[in-house]
Every structure is written in C-alpha cells, then in structure tokens.
C-alpha cells in the first residue's frame, strides 16, 4: 500500500504561498517515489500519485504537464540531494580511493534508509521503455564520472578499456538491485567492500583494490 502523506489543512491556513507550493511539491515527490517504486513508471497513474500526495489533479497539472515530467524532475531532485550528501561525506577525505569509499557508503546508507528510493532510482527506469532507460544510462555514466573525480593521473592509476569502464556501473547496479529485490534493502551498506573492490580494481589493479576494500571490513 502506498502511504498517505501528511497534507496541509484545507482552506485558508494563512501560510505563505511559497511554503504551500514547496510543501505540495515535496509531497508530490514523495508520492511519486512511493507509487513508482510499487507499480513501476508505466503502470503508475496520475490519480494514484495525487491520492498519495493528497492533492487534486488540477494542482498536479499546475506543476507538471505529464507523469513523465514529474518523474524526470523528481529523479533530478533526488540526484541533487544525494550529491549534496555524498559530497559532504567525502569532503574530509584527502585520498581518492577513500573519497570513493565515502561517496559509495553515503549512497548505500541513503538507499538503505528508504529502499523505495532504490526501486525508484535503479529499478523503475530500466523497465519504463527505451526513452527513459536511455536517460537512465546517461545518469549512471555521470555517476561513474562523479566517482572518478579527482582520480590521480597515471601511473598512480590506469585507464580501463571502454568495455570495462562501461560495464562497471552495470555490475554495481546489478548487485544492489539483487539485494533490494531480495527484500534486504536495509542491508545495503554491507555491500560496500564488494562495490569498492569492484569499482577500484580496473583503476588500481586487484591487489590495491582488495587492500582498500578489506581495510573497511
């Protein structure tokens, strides 16, 4: 069941318009996440989303022209939110592999706190047809680029082939999705050593990657 989210009391509540708008948009985003996580993007309806958000269809169309637009904006909002959290987690680390570790850990913690988020971000887009799936693959490629930021140049690291680099993120997503589908989404942070080793191996070589992965067991 999709949870019903807290709504403002109807009628005149004397709240500033900006606040009302923000509140409605936040509720819509939360409703979008919950409904898409449960039903998938293709089967989710605007009626379901509005009901979960506690707003009217008219209000929905005041913000978005379609379900897809609401999805894209919600997706972008989550990515911004996650970036802020992962940046904050990594800011203290001065070594590149440690920053990767801090970012991956922060991502796993966020997804574990709300497994609907993993379904929304990582599972729903692949199933929504090629248009959405193509944008999703681009978003994942940007995630790899983000993890690679600040990587020391060769010879400290090496550049993997195109095939290895692009399959990396697919492999990481596969492990996470497997765990979420098994109903163990709250256990995601346990995957950190595996993900870290998987990601670092092509850049650092296996023994270095294992050294970093094992250091956190």
């Amino acid at each position: 069941m999709t949870p019903r989210l807290a709504r403002l009391p109807p009628g005149r509540h004397g709240l500033p318009r900006d606040f009302v708008v923000q509140n409605q948009r936040d509720r819509l985003a939360a409703a979008m996440i919950a409904v898409v996580a449960e039903h998938g993007l293709t089967d989710a309806t605007i009626t379901q989303i509005c009901a979960a958000a506690g707003i009217s269809r008219r209000t929905f169309y005041g913000y978005f022209s379609s379900k897809e637009e609401c999805f894209a904006e919600t997706y972008a909002g989550i990515v911004r939110y996650m970036r802020a959290a992962t940046d904050a987690a990594a800011v203290e680390e001065d070594e590149w592999p440690r920053r990767v570790r801090a970012k991956l850990n922060a991502m796993l913690e966020l997804l574990a706190a709300n497994p609907d988020l993993a379904r929304f971000l990582l599972i729903a887009p692949q199933r929504a047809g090629e248009g959405v799936a193509a944008r999703y693959r681009e978003a994942m490629a940007r995630t790899v680029a983000y993890l690679c930021e600040g990587m020391p140049p060769p010879p400290a690291t090496r550049a993997p082939s195109d095939a290895v680099a692009s399959s990396l993120i697919g492999g990481m997503v596969a492990i996470v999705v497997r765990k979420v589908n098994a109903g163990e989404g709250d256990d995601l942070p346990r995957l950190l050593p595996d993900l870290l080793e998987l990601f670092l191996t092509p850049y650092l070589g296996r023994s270095e990657a294992i050294r970093f992965g094992a250091a956190y067991l």
Binding site: T42, A133, S166, G170, M172, V177, D194
Partner: protein
C-alpha cells in the same frame, strides 16, 4: 488408397503451428523496431499478415506473444552457443567459444538481440523473471572460473552477479547504439576477473 500429394488439406495443428511461427518471426522484428511499449496487437497482426482472430487463437495478449518470441530467440541462441562450445577444452577456452558465439548471434540477428537484451527489460515482470533466470545460469557457469583464479579466496561473493550484470549492461548499450562488439573487449569484462589481464589477453589473441 493413397491420395494425391499436396491435395490433402494440412491437419489443423500443422496449420496452427505454422501460423504461430510466422507471427513470432514477425513479432521479433516489430518488438525490436517499435519497442515493447510502442507495440500494439494491431502492429503484430499487420506484420504477421493474419487476422486479429487468428492472433488471439494463439496468444492471450501482447505480453504472451512477447514471452513466446523471447523464448524462441532464447532457445535458438542457447542451441547455437551450446554447439559452439568444444567439449574437451579448458574453462577459459570454452568461455571464449561461448562468448564468440553470443557475439556472432548478436551481429547476425540484430532484432533478436534487441528483443533478448533490451526490450525484455520493459516487457513486464514475467519477462524480467525469465531474463533473470538466464542471467543466473550464466553466473553459475562463470563461477567455475574461480578454480582458475590465482587468488580464489579473495574474490567477492557477488562477483558473478556483478560480472553478468555488467556484461548485460555493456551489450545493451552496444545494441542500442548499433555498435559492434569484439571478443577481446568482452573477455576483458568476463574473463579478466578470474584469469587476470595477462592470461585474458593471451586467450583473446589465441582464440
């Protein structure tokens, strides 16, 4: 008394089977070209040159038709790959032969590749479950590679899921981008985690 050959009407089951094959052949092309969600029963009917009634004699709906088309591609590719694997060879050689046969199938049958590796993701829960089962089988075969690793105890438990997921992801992008994939690239993704880079490069050059 023998009847004239070719005059006798074909038994109903033979006709039905023939029609089913014809629809499935057309369905692979249609699903690949329009995507699962962009395909309607009308499209399938038009491409198969059959009536709507005949379609529903064979399939309850679009999803059932997709599942049958997927199964058809999968069993054909499975046979193709199985017959390409040499019996009395080492795991690395058998792996290389299997992957070479997979790449050949992708190159020769682009619509089937699109159906089996891209559209299957969007075709509903049952298609996805079938696809996951296939990927799990591949993961099981990869697990045998652990015997060839210099550091088997260091390989993470999730390595096979990650490797197969990574391979599927990579092939999807090449198929969608209509780009060719070479055996050495794929070996680097699939074999290198087990054999190391040097042995993988040797395997790729010797074939």
């Amino acid at each position: 008394m023998p009847t004239a050959v070719g005059r006798e009407p074909l038994p109903r089951e033979v006709l039905a089977e023939h029609q089913r094959e014809r629809i499935l052949e057309a369905a692979v092309e249609v699903f690949a070209a329009r995507g699962y969600q962009g395909t309607t029963v009308d499209h399938l009917v038009a491409a198969g040159h059959i009536g709507v009634g005949s379609f529903y004699d064979q399939f309850a709906n679009k999803e059932e038709c997709f599942l049958a088309a997927y199964e058809r591609v999968e069993s054909s590719w499975r046979g193709r790959i199985a017959s390409a694997i040499p019996a009395d060879e080492t795991w690395p050689r058998r792996l290389a032969a299997a992957l070479a046969a997979l790449l050949e199938a992708i190159e020769e049958e682009p619509p089937a590749a699109r159906l089996a590796l891209v559209e299957v993701q969007a075709a509903g829960a049952r298609a996805l479950a079938e696809h996951d089962r296939t990927l799990d089988e591949v993961a099981e075969l990869l697990r045998q590679g652990r015997e060839h690793s210099a550091v088997p105890e260091q390989l993470p438990a999730t390595l096979e899921v990650a490797t197969v997921g990574g391979l599927a992801w990579f092939l999807q992008q090449r198929i969608v981008g209509d780009e060719a994939t070479e055996l050495p690239e794929v070996l680097e993704v699939v074999a290198a985690p087990y054999l190391g880079e040097k042995a993988t490069a040797e395997l790729a050059t010797r074939g």
